[in-house]
Symmetry: C2
Subunit: 237 residues, 2 copies
C-alpha cells in the first residue's frame, strides 16, 4: 500500500470513528431528553395527583433502562475496536458514567410517580406546592446540565455544580415543614412520608446532575474533580 493509500485509509478510519463518537453523543442527549420528560411528567403527576400520567412514567422507565444498556454496550465496543486515547477515551468514559446517572434519575422519576399513586397522599395537597417548586428547580437544573453536556461547557458545568447547594437548602426546608405537619397531625404521618420520599428523590436528581457536571469538567479539562471542594475546582479551571 502506497503512502497516499495509507493516509486515505487512516482518514477513512478516523472519519468513521468520529461518526461513531458523534452518534454515541447524540444517543446520550436523546436519553437525557427522555429522562427530562419523565421528570416533568412525574412531577406533574404528583402535583395534580394524576394516576394515569404516573402510570405512564412508571411504564416508560424501561425505555430509559434500555438506552443505558445499549449505549454502554456501544461504549465498550468502541473502546475495543478503536482503542481510543486521550480526549476520545475521556469522552467515552464521561459518556458511560453519564448514562449511569441518567438511569438513576429515571429511577427517581419512578419513585416520584409512585408517590402520586398513593391514595393517602391526597390529603397532603398543601405540601405538594413546596415539592412543585423544588421540582421545577430540579427540572431546570437537569435541563441546564444536559445543555452543558451537549456543548461540553466546563464553565457552565461549574456554575451548575454550585446550584445543587440551593436545591439542598430547599429540600431541608421541606423536610422541616413535613416534620411540623406530622407533629401537628399524627394521623397524617403515612401520607406525609410518601411526600417525603418524593422530596428525597427530587433532591437526588440534583446530586446526579452534579455528577454529570463533574464528568463534563473531566472531559474538557482532563481532571477528575470528584470529592473536590468548589473553591479548589474554581482554582483549577
Amino acid at each position: 500500500m502506497g503512502i497516499m493509500e495509507k493516509m486515505n485509509l487512516s482518514k477513512h478510519i478516523s472519519g468513521q470513528f468520529n461518526a461513531e463518537l458523534e452518534d454515541i453523543r447524540n444517543r446520550v442527549l436523546a436519553m437525557g431528553g427522555l429522562v427530562e420528560r419523565q421528570l416533568e411528567q412525574a412531577l406533574d403527576a404528583l402535583t395534580t395527583l394524576d394516576a394515569e400520567l404516573a402510570q405512564k412514567v412508571i411504564e416508560g422507565d424501561h425505555r430509559v433502562n434500555g438506552m443505558e444498556v445499549s449505549i454502554d454496550e456501544e461504549c465498550t465496543r468502541i473502546i475495543a475496536k478503536r482503542q481510543p486515547a486521550a480526549s476520545d477515551l475521556r469522552m467515552i468514559i464521561a459518556i458511560s458514567k453519564t448514562i449511569a446517572d441518567l438511569e438513576r434519575i429515571g429511577d427517581a422519576c419512578v419513585r416520584i410517580a409512585k408517590a402520586a399513586l398513593e391514595k393517602r397522599v391526597n390529603t397532603q395537597q398543601p405540601l405538594l406546592v413546596s415539592i412543585e417548586s423544588m421540582g421545577r428547580h430540579a427540572t431546570r437544573m437537569l435541563h441546564s446540565t444536559l445543555d452543558a453536556l451537549a456543548r461540553m461547557d466546563a464553565e457552565q458545568a461549574l456554575e451548575l455544580h454550585k446550584e445543587d447547594a440551593k436545591l439542598d437548602k430547599e429540600y431541608e426546608g421541606i423536610i422541616r415543614q413535613l416534620m411540623t405537619y406530622m407533629m401537628e397531625d399524627p394521623r397524617s404521618i403515612p401520607g406525609v412520608l410518601d411526600v417525603l420520599w418524593a422530596a428525597r428523590a427530587v433532591e437526588r436528581v440534583g446530586d446526579r446532575c452534579k455528577n454529570i457536571c463533574e464528568y463534563v469538567i473531566y472531559y474538557v479539562k482532563g481532571k477528575d474533580v470528584r470529592h473536590t471542594s468548589y473553591e479548589d475546582m474554581e482554582k483549577d479551571l
Copy 2:
C-alpha cells in the same frame, strides 16, 4: 528484531499487563475491605451511640474517596496504554463500575455515622435493635459480595442478587415500625426520622451489593444483566 526477540517482548508485555490487572484487582479488594470496616464501625457507632467512633467513620471517608479516584485513574491509564479487549476489557469495566458503588456504600456509612451523632436519637434505643439486625444482614451481604468479586464467582453473585429482596423486606418492616412509633408519640418524630435515614442508608447498601454482583456476572458471562428479572438471569447462567 528476530522472531524470538519479538516473542520474548510480547511475553514480557503481557506479563506486565497481567501484573497491572492483578494489582488493580488487589486495590479494589483493599477498597472493599476498607468500606466493610467503615460499615461495621458505622453500625456499631449507631447501635451503641458512640460519638467518637462515628467521628472516626466520617473522617475515614476521604480514604474511600481517594481510592476510588486513584483506581479509576489507573483503569483509564491501562485502557489507553494496553488497549485491552474481550475479557480483559470487561474486567476493567467491571472494576471501574464496582468502585463507584463501593464509594457510595462509603457515603451510606457516613450517613449512618451522622445519625449516631444526633443527640435526639438517644431516646429511640429500642428502634436501634431492629436497625442492628438489618445492619448485620447488610454487612454479611457486603462481605459475601466482596468474596464473589475476589473469586469472580458468577453463581455466588446470582445467589446474592436474590438476597437483596430479603433485606428490602426487613427494611419495609422497620419503616412500618418507625411509623407506628411516630404516630404513638409525635414528640419522637425528629429522632425517629434520624433512625429512618440510617435505615434507608442500610437498605441502599444492599442495592449497591446487587449492582456489584451484576458486574461480576457481566465479567464472567460477558452479558449485561442489569434490568433483568432474576428468572431470566438464572436461565442465562
